[in-house]
Amino acid sequence: MNIPDYTIAMVVAIPLLGAFLTPLVSKINDKIRNIFVILVLALNAGLVFLLASEILTKGIKTYIFGAKDLTFPIVRILFEVDAMSIFMAIISSILVLIAVIYSWAFMKENTGLDKYYTLILLLTAGMLGMVLTGDMFNFFVFLEISSIASCALIAFWTDVGESVEAGFKYIVISSMGALFVLFAVALLYGQYNALNIALLSNLIQYTFLDKIALVLLIIALAMKAGIVPMHMWLPDSYGSAPSSVTVILVSATLASLYGVLRVIFTLYGNALSTLIRFDISVNVLIGWFIVALAVISIIIGVTMALIQSDFNRLIAYGAVAEIGYMFLGIGAGIVALGTAYGKIALNGGIFHIMNDALDVALLFLVAGSIYYATRETSLDKLCGLARNMKYTTVFFIIGLLAIAGMPPLNGFASKILIYESTFQINPILAIVAILCSILLLAVFVKVFFSAFMGPKISKYSDVKEVPKSMLISMGIIASIIVFIGLFPDIIISNIVEPASNALIGYSEYVSQVVGGL
């Protein structure tokens, strides 16, 4: 089946339109509003899957907003969707849909939910725009949309001082990151009079200004992705936002990671693979820099997680370590670009993006469920919840084993690719990665012991299992985790491999535009 090109535009337009309609639908009643938002996001997820099936079988798809002909002045924005873009779009659309289903019961007691759902839809439009656009300035615009919506959602519980503080910190950091991205875009536009990623990739000469733009783009987006030591906003934000929001924030963070990949592999793909610096290929230099940051992220993420007593902050530090694993695979892939194990490392890194998103999301939903049932996030105060929250406990165990990379769950499938390929580059990298994975298991065993195990205490004797909408959300993610764990080859060969091929084969992305569009 051929799907029209404008489907790409609809994937961004539908949540955007939904965002503006939500306050109006809210006037009818809350239930209809909730159904409306879920339907909008389900429709959007359906379109993303349709688009994915076409792109993964037929190749890159483009859509032009504005001028079709190349007559001056050319005013147009081009969306270019390859396997990597659609891989990210799949993750985002699944997580957002699950988050709104979860929100139905989780946010029920809150007021201002018309604004809450409007912001979620705006954030969705921003994230999807970031991963689907083929234009640098447009990327910046969507980055800003997602940052502003994220900030408002982090500070949604305005009566909680920590949430407002976290929102403030997030907007400061995000604005600064976005400002540097804009500066880098201006540097590129000033030199080449172009904003299109493919066109820029074809034109870049790797001048002094190009180098500055590269540094600004990678560091600003890496900070937004939460890599150590620029990660400190992440535990604050993830720890203070409502759990349903945190699940979407995980996805928004990964959209910035996508930005790093797009800049290195596509925008600078042509320049980096051919240039030499300090007698080393530039991509190797950048690869080792990313690997170094990744290893620090893994170590600091895990060690900090071990001493946390707040459930949300503990998961957040675990997420920092997981981001380190992704960057380790990707960095190793860049270092060994062109080799067989370099390709496996890249596959592992990309596969881990999906696995981490699901695992961390499940754990945050469990943390949210515990908060919903007990109004408590301190692990020092929680005890013996497994007695009353059996399903939540099962979901937590699945999340625990998955994030710690225990076989046969999804975390193991991607981590083993990272371990074995990084071992080929330097065995120390693999050893650190494995040891930290064991520590990560210890971190979540601590949670399991302190929150779920232990004697029955009077304070929590009346605790009940969470409502069905929350259980369904956790159940969907847990099922996907188990499925990917048992059948990783299906995901790798159908989604991950095409995504890594799209990154490595950047010339196809470039030729799609330079060739005549």
Binding site: V172, M232, A340, C383, D489
Partner: protein, 110 residues
């Protein structure tokens, strides 16, 4: 089928699941040929505690902050450093961004 190549080996979760099932079966068989003098709901199943008097069950639970005490104490130096690094101050967050930006700038541009 269901196998992923890792470069120097492979991973097949189905083979792993079957192996684990066989291992559990073996454990069950070994257990079933063991002694059968176990008496349920007798003194035999109660744990023996010596020393101080036993607290109420509610107070016996080890708190999360006290878990891995030995590990965190032996790495006190590292944790002091990490705590000092995580100030919670937004200006410091920006400072780390500038530091990493400067390092990458030195590597890539200068």
């Amino acid at each position: 089928m269901f196998t992923i190549e890792t470069g120097s080996g492979f991973w097949n979760p189905i083979i792993w699941a079957i192996s684990i099932a066989i291992a559990f079966l073996l454990i069950y068989v070994i257990r079933s040929i063991g002694k059968k003098e176990y008496k349920k709901d007798t003194e035999q199943v109660k744990s023996f505690l010596s020393g101080n008097p036993e607290y109420e069950k509610e107070k016996m639970h080890v708190k999360a902050s006290n878990l891995y005490w030995g590990f965190t104490t032996s790495l006190k130096g590292l944790y002091n450093l990490l705590r000092k690094m995580h100030t919670g101050n937004t200006s410091d967050y920006v400072l780390w961004f500038v530091i990493i930006l400067a390092i990458f700038f030195l590597i890539e541009v200068i």
